[in-house]
Each structure stands twice: as structure tokens, then as C-alpha cells.
């Protein structure tokens, strides 16, 4: 009887208001932030060594890097994204694919490459200024593509009519100015997010001699074994992040909601303008050269003397199983939660804004917050919860919660691109919810689900901080293995591992692209 009742739920429940929507959204956001609560409790209640002057310096350094990355990524990423959105140009697909690679590779890999470039240029000991510049440069590798892609997505919302109207009045120059103003909130949001993400990433600063607050937390937990201090530092970092993220989430994210979640209708075709096309190619090539090819050249440099293929393969075969396990667990869980979030937010403007603000905050917060929270939970929880809180699954779960925002935004975009009347006509014809999900919405959202799973899996693989804090003994992922051996292993081995990783990420990206296009 119960099953029959369930089958009789009409599909228009997806287009109607309902208490389940608010409850679902609050539950998902709480699940994403919940593991942090035990850590914050420890930070507030337990006494520990006071925060030192060294920590204050680390905070200052993090602030400098984050500000520079935000400004520079906006300055270069916005025009690059805008040009890519408006004009057709030779090698469009290849250039945009190359631009995406740094988003899927751990930032410390680029830092390793840049440190090699510094050696070639004779700049290995240049003091804090050089460290700061190099660190900013390393962080720009993922930040620039993030801003450029966000701008591109936002600019593609401009309709053919809007574009033609401005073109008729003032030509390409005026169009560029108007389009830039239209996409500025999206680009600014991405740039600020990129800046915030640098605060939580210990890798580039450590490698290039300008370590910040995230590295201090890692040292407190992994080297000093002072959990309370790590918790306090993490709480301070969270506070700093929230000072920036909350106003941004409240004032900018809702304005961007329509652009990144809305339906794509009457898209303006890519213009064929020889001059603008070549400018676009030039700008994108420069970005790809500086953010991808230059660090890659540095990574490859030690391989000219020796290429330890066998040893690198040995390391990879030892860690590939756990790497894939973390990636797949994260991808599947994040995608399922993202789709749930998209259905709960539906088309209701306020709920979509709430969802976007929620996911922005989740992505802004340092990954160490949830990871250390899970460590604390694992410590105080009974032993029978170990499979959930102290296992490989825990790592995948923490990574899924970390990258849920990516899956949620893709799912919300996909749901937003379907027509509400497709569901309503189903309701008129008595199509049940399960039939509609199985026959119509499922296939419609499948490409987005596959893409989300793939992107989350790649992002999760590239995330080092969470895995470093949560991995069970002997269960390293490939990037964590590189991160832990880079200080002691031969340069050539580290370089070989880095190259295999970048090649693997590029290959998976290509496969994902082909797969999503075919579905």
C-alpha cells in the first residue's frame, strides 16, 4: 500500500512549493558544515599554546597573496573570459581545454614547476618578495581559468538581441564595455573565491618560500601533534574567511544566481571578427603560456637528465587504488547531493539564492575545518562508527562535502535549463514522479551528472589538505604521495610523478568531454 502511494506521487511535486524543499536545503548545508562543529568546540574550550608572532606573520602573508590573486585574476580573467564568450577564434576548443587544466591539478604541482623555473633563472634565493611573487603566480594558475570560465558562462547569458542592440549603437568597443559591466559581478565573485581558496592551500607557499596560515595549521597538526592549536588556528582562518565570504555571499552571489543558474535561451552566436579573434587568441595563449606551459616546462626540466619511469610507475601503482577510491566516492556522493539540492531549490528564486549562498560559503571555508572536525569526531565516536569516520570512505566523504558546491551548481544549471511545462504536462497526463525522473528528467540531467561526477572526482584528487589530514596509514593518494616525498625524493622522480599526474588529468578531462558530448 505504502509503495503504491509512493508511486502515485505526481511529478508536479517538482514544480510546486513544499516544506521538503527548505528542509532538504537546510539539511544539505548542515551536513556540509556539520563536521566542523566539534573542531570549533575544541577551539573554544581547550587551552593550548597561544597564537604566536609567527602565526601573525603567516596571516599577513596569506592576506597579501589572497588580495593579489583576487586583483590580478580579475584583471586578466575577465577580458579573457569575455573575449572567449563573444568571438569565434582558431583553436578555440584546444585553448579553452588547456586553460582548464590548472583547475584540475593540485596547485603545488605548478609551484614545483615554478621553483624549477626559478632555478633556471638563478633566482632560487630571492627573499620574501620573490617568494610572494612566485606564490601569487602559482595561485594564479587555477585562479585565472576560474575567473575566465565564470565570465564566459555569465557572458553566454547575454542574448542575441542584447548583443546586436549594443553592436548597432556603438560597435565592438561599446559591446565590450557593456558586456564587461554585465558580467562583472560573476567575475568578481570568482576572483574573490579564488583569493579565499588560496588561504586554505598550504602547498605553493611552502614550496616557494612564502608559507601562510594553511601551512601553519598543517604543521601544528601533523608535525607538532598539537590538535588544540591546529583547531584554534583553523578557527581564526575560518573567521577571516567569513569576514570576506559572508558579505560576498549576501550581496554578490544572489546577483549572480540568475546568470549561472538560469536557462540559456536565444544565445548570441560567436561573432567572426578577424581582429577580435586574434586578440582573443593572443590573450588566451599568453594566459595558457604563463599559467600552464611555463610551470610544465619547469616540471619537465629534471627529466632531461633522467626519466625514472619504472620507479614512478611503482609509486603510482601503489597509490592509484586509493586515489580512484577517494575520487569516485567523492564524485558519486557529491553528485547525488548536488542533484538533491537542485531539485529542492527548484525554480523558486529565493531558494536558488539560498542554495547559491550556501554553496559559496561551503566552498569558501577551509577544507581543514571539516577534515579536523572529522578527526575529532572519529576520536570521540564509538568504535563501530570507524568505517564512517576513520576509513578511506571518510576521506571520500570529506572530499564530497568539500566539492558539493561544484556538483550542486552544475545540477542547478541543468535543472534550470529544462522547461517547467514539461513537468506540468506530465502532471496533467498523470505521469508519476518516478516515471518522470526515470524517463524525462534523469536523461535530461545525465550529461550534467556525468560532468559533475567527473569534475568533482578530478578536483577531489587534486585536493591535498583534506587527504593529508584524514587518510588512514598507508592510504595515500597520488598527489599526497608527491607532496610527502618531494622534500626527500630525487627531483627526477618528483617530476615524473607530476608529469604522469598532469597527463592523467588531461586525459580524463578529454574523455569526460567526449563522454558528456555523446550522452
Amino acid at each position: 500500500m505504502g509503495n503504491e502511494e509512493q508511486q502515485m506521487i505526481s511529478c508536479d511535486v517538482l514544480e510546486k512549493p513544499g516544506w521538503w524543499r527548505e528542509i532538504s536545503l537546510v539539511t544539505i548545508i548542515f551536513l556540509s558544515l556539520g563536521p566542523a562543529l566539534p573542531l570549533l568546540w575544541v577551539a573554544v574550550t581547550e587551552a593550548s599554546s597561544p597564537l604566536t608572532g609567527g602565526f601573525a606573520l603567516a596571516v599577513w602573508r596569506s592576506f597579501v597573496v589572497a588580495t593579489a590573486v583576487t586583483g590580478l585574476s580579475l584583471l586578466a580573467g575577465l577580458p579573457a573570459g569575455l573575449l572567449s564568450a563573444m568571438y569565434d577564434f582558431p583553436g578555440r576548443r584546444i585553448l579553452l581545454a588547456l586553460l582548464a587544466i590548472p583547475l584540475l591539478v593540485p596547485s603545488f604541482l605548478w609551484a614545483i614547476g615554478l621553483s624549477q623555473v626559478r632555478i633556471v633563472l638563478g633566482l632560487q634565493s630571492g627573499g620574501p618578495w620573490l617568494g610572494a611573487i612566485s606564490t601569487v603566480f602559482a595561485f594564479l594558475a587555477p585562479a585565472l581559468p576560474l575567473v575566465a570560465y565564470m565570465t564566459l558562462v555569465s557572458a553566454r547569458r547575454l542574448s542575441k538581441g542584447q548583443v546586436d542592440a549594443v553592436r548597432l549603437v556603438g560597435g565592438e568597443r561599446l559591446l565590450f564595455v557593456y558586456a564587461a559591466r554585465a558580467v562583472l559581478p560573476s567575475a568578481l565573485l570568482a576572483a574573490i573565491l579564488a583569493g579565499i581558496l588560496t588561504l586554505s592551500d598550504p602547498g605553493p607557499g611552502q614550496i616557494l618560500g612564502y608559507s601562510g596560515i594553511a601551512y601553519e595549521i598543517l604543521v601544528s597538526f601533523s608535525a607538532s601533534y598539537d590538535f588544540a592549536l591546529a583547531a584554534q588556528q583553523c578557527a581564526v582562518l575560518t573567521g577571516l574567511v567569513l569576514v570576506v565570504a559572508v558579505p560576498v555571499a549576501i550581496f554578490i552571489a544572489p546577483r549572480v544566481a540568475v546568470e549561472i543558474l538560469g536557462r540559456e535561451i536565444n544565445l548570441a552566436p560567436l561573432a567572426r571578427n578577424a581582429c577580435a579573434s586574434w586578440i582573443t587568441v593572443g590573450v588566451l595563449s599568453c594566459i595558457v603560456l604563463l599559467t600552464t606551459l611555463l610551470p610544465l616546462t619547469g616540471i619537465v626540466r629534471p627529466l632531461f637528465g633522467e626519466f625514472p619511469v619504472a620507479r614512478a610507475f611503482g609509486e603510482i601503482s601503489r597509490t592509484i587504488r586509493d586515489t580512484l577510491l577517494y575520487a569516485l566516492t567523492a564524485g558519486v556522493i557529491a553528485t547525488a547531493m548536488g542533484i538533491w539540492m537542485a531539485l529542492a531549490a527548484g525554480r523558486e528564486r529565493q531558494l536558488r539564492r539560498l542554495a547559491l549562498v550556501g554553496v559559496f560559503l561551503v566552498l569558501s571555508l577551509p577544507p581543514s575545518l571539516n577534515a579536523l572536525g572529522m578527526v575529532e569526531l572519529g576520536t570521540i565516536a564509538p568504535a563501530w562508527l570507524d568505517p564512517l569516520l576513520r576509513s578511506r570512505f571518510t576521506v571520500g566523504l570529506a572530499l564530497a562535502l568539500r566539492f558539493l558546491p561544484v556538483a550542486a551548481v552544475l545540477a542547478m544549471r541543468s535543472f534550470g535549463s529544462t522547461s517547467p511545462s514539461q513537468c506540468l504536462v506530465g502532471a496533467v497526463h498523470g505521469v508519476t514522479l518516478s516515471q518522470f525522473l526515470h524517463r524525462v528528467l534523469g536523461p535530461a540531467m545525465l550529461p550534467a551528472a556525468v560532468t559533475a561526477c567527473m569534475v568533482v572526482a578530478l578536483e577531489a584528487t587534486a585536493e591535498v589538505g583534506t587527504v593529508l589530514l584524514l587518510r588512514p596509514p598507508g592510504a595515500d593518494s597520488i598527489p599526497v604521495q608527491i607532496f610527502t616525498v618531494m622534500a626527500n625524493a630525487p627531483e627526477a622522480l618528483v617530476a615524473a610523478l607530476c608529469i604522469f599526474y598532469v597527463a592523467g588529468a588531461a586525459l580524463l578531462l578529454t574523455l569526460g568531454w567526449i563522454l558528456a558530448a555523446r550522452i
Binding site: S10, Q422, V428, H429, A444
Partner: protein, 249 residues
């Protein structure tokens, strides 16, 4: 018991916006009723209330004398009203073939597979698109898509067919052919038709009666011939002029 639809003092409000206010009228079985009025006057909302996709804020909707919707509550869900609807954007499911679109429209009927297939084939044939059965909606023309939406609506053999401006964007020749076919099907199958439209040709070809909405209230209602004889409202005057011009041409 009064057969057909009866609307009693229907009001609908979205937050602070009053879309419909005290709307009352009846729809006789097998009749054709056009709901006309300026943009934003509540025509589509009225259609959604009839379909049971939304509940009125106040008032009652009766079908064959039985209350099917009342204040804030849908008593009889859409699938049990023997209604089908063709939406303005047609709402075809893009991933399904034309045939599957029609078959999914029969989902609630619990028909045997061969019976569902027979009905779907018949609907496609009636709408003259049987040759498109294996195609997907994205690969056929606008006029053909209209026919698929119509076939899906007719396959379930409804008593009431609601049309929400489904002909906008069609060229005149295609539109006239479709109007002719729908008028024939309506007469053959004794379907009650409710049409929301801005177009005097569509409205007068398919419907004999009309309700003129303005700012959420019924301004005029009755037989088209009578309404157009001495039109009181601006929109009916424009209708009359347009129809005269078409007749001259």
C-alpha cells in the same frame, strides 16, 4: 447536476499581486470557449486553475457539479479531471521520440502495452505525423512539434482540451491547416475546448463563446457573434476590425 466546468468567484493572488478577482463563468460540455484579454490579465493562470495545476486563493471550481478545487486546495488532482493541455512552449520531452512522447502522455491510464501503442499510433495518424514517430522533437519543424503536442493531448481521449497560446510563432499556412484539423477533431470527438489566445482568427475558428478578461476580472462574456456585434471593450473592437480585414482579403 450541471455538466461541464463552473467557476464560482475565483480569485488568485501571488504574494502581493492579485491576478484574478471574483471570476465566475461556466463552460458547457462540447463547447469551444476562448479566453481573451491583454497580456498579464490572468488568462494562463485561469487555465492552470482549470487544469488543477494550481489552487485558487478563494472560490470554487466545479466539474459536473462536483467541487474539484476550492480555496487553497486541489480536491481532484489534474490526472483525474479528464483534461489535457497544450502549453505555449509545447513542453515536449526532448530526449524522447515523438512516439514515446505520446506514450508517456498515456502513463496514468494503465493500459496494456499494445492498447497504449494502438492509441498512440491513432493519435499520430489523426494529427498526420505517423511518419515522424521515430524522430525526436528537436529534429522536426515547429508545425510538426505542434502536432506532436496535440497528438499527445488527444491520445488520452480527454473530455477537455486546454490550449495555452500554442500557435504563436507559426506561419499562417501551417496555422490555418492546424486550426482546421483541431476544429474537425473537436467536432468528431465532442471535446470541450478552452483556448487562451490573442489572435482573433484562432479564437473565432475554434470557439463560439468567449470570456474577456481585463486586470483579473471578467469584462465581457457570451457568444462571439453577439460580443462582436457591438463590442464594448477595445480588444473586441480590434478583433472585429482584424476579422473584417481578413474577410476582405
Amino acid at each position: 447536476m450541471k455538466p461541464g466546468f463552473e467557476l464560482r468567484s475565483i480569485s488568485k493572488r501571488y504574494d502581493d499581486v492579485q491576478v484574478l478577482a471574483g471570476v465566475s463563468f461556466s463552460i458547457e460540455p462540447s463547447a469551444g470557449l476562448a479566453i481573451i484579454g491583454p497580456s498579464g490579465c490572468g488568462k494562463s493562470t485561469l487555465l492552470r486553475l482549470l487544469a488543477g495545476l494550481e489552487a485558487p486563493t478563494s472560490g470554487e471550481i466545479l466539474l459536473d457539479g462536483q467541487v474539484i478545487s476550492e480555496s487553497g486546495h486541489i480536491v481532484v488532482p489534474p490526472r483525474q479531471r479528464s483534461i489535457t493541455m497544450v502549453f505555449q512552449d509545447l513542453a515536449l520531452w526532448p530526449n524522447l521520440t515523438v512516439l514515446d512522447n505520446v506514450l508517456l502522455g498515456l502513463a496514468s491510464r494503465r493500459l496494456a502495452r499494445h492498447e497504449a501503442r494502438r492509441r498512440a499510433d491513432e493519435a499520430l495518424s489523426v494529427c498526420k505525423i505517423e511518419q515522424l514517430a521515430a524522430r525526436k522533437p528537436g529534429n522536426i519543424s515547429g508545425g510538426q512539434q505542434q502536432r506532436v503536442a496535440l497528438a499527445r493531448a488527444l491520445a488520452s481521449e480527454p473530455r477537455f482540451l486546454l490550449l495555452d497560446e500554442p500557435f504563436s510563432g507559426l506561419d499562417l499556412v501551417t496555422k490555418m491547416a492546424l486550426l482546421q484539423d483541431i476544429a474537425r477533431l473537436r467536432a468528431d470527438r465532442q471535446i470541450t475546448l478552452v483556448l487562451v489566445s490573442h489572435d482573433p482568427i484562432e479564437a473565432t475558428r475554434l470557439c463560439h463563446t468567449a470570456v474577456l478578461l481585463n486586470r483579473g476580472v471578467v469584462e465581457e462574456q457570451g457568444e462571439f457573434d453577439e460580443l462582436l456585434r457591438e463590442p464594448k471593450s477595445e480588444i473586441l473592437r480590434v478583433f472585429k476590425t482584424s476579422l473584417k480585414e481578413v474577410a476582405h482579403q
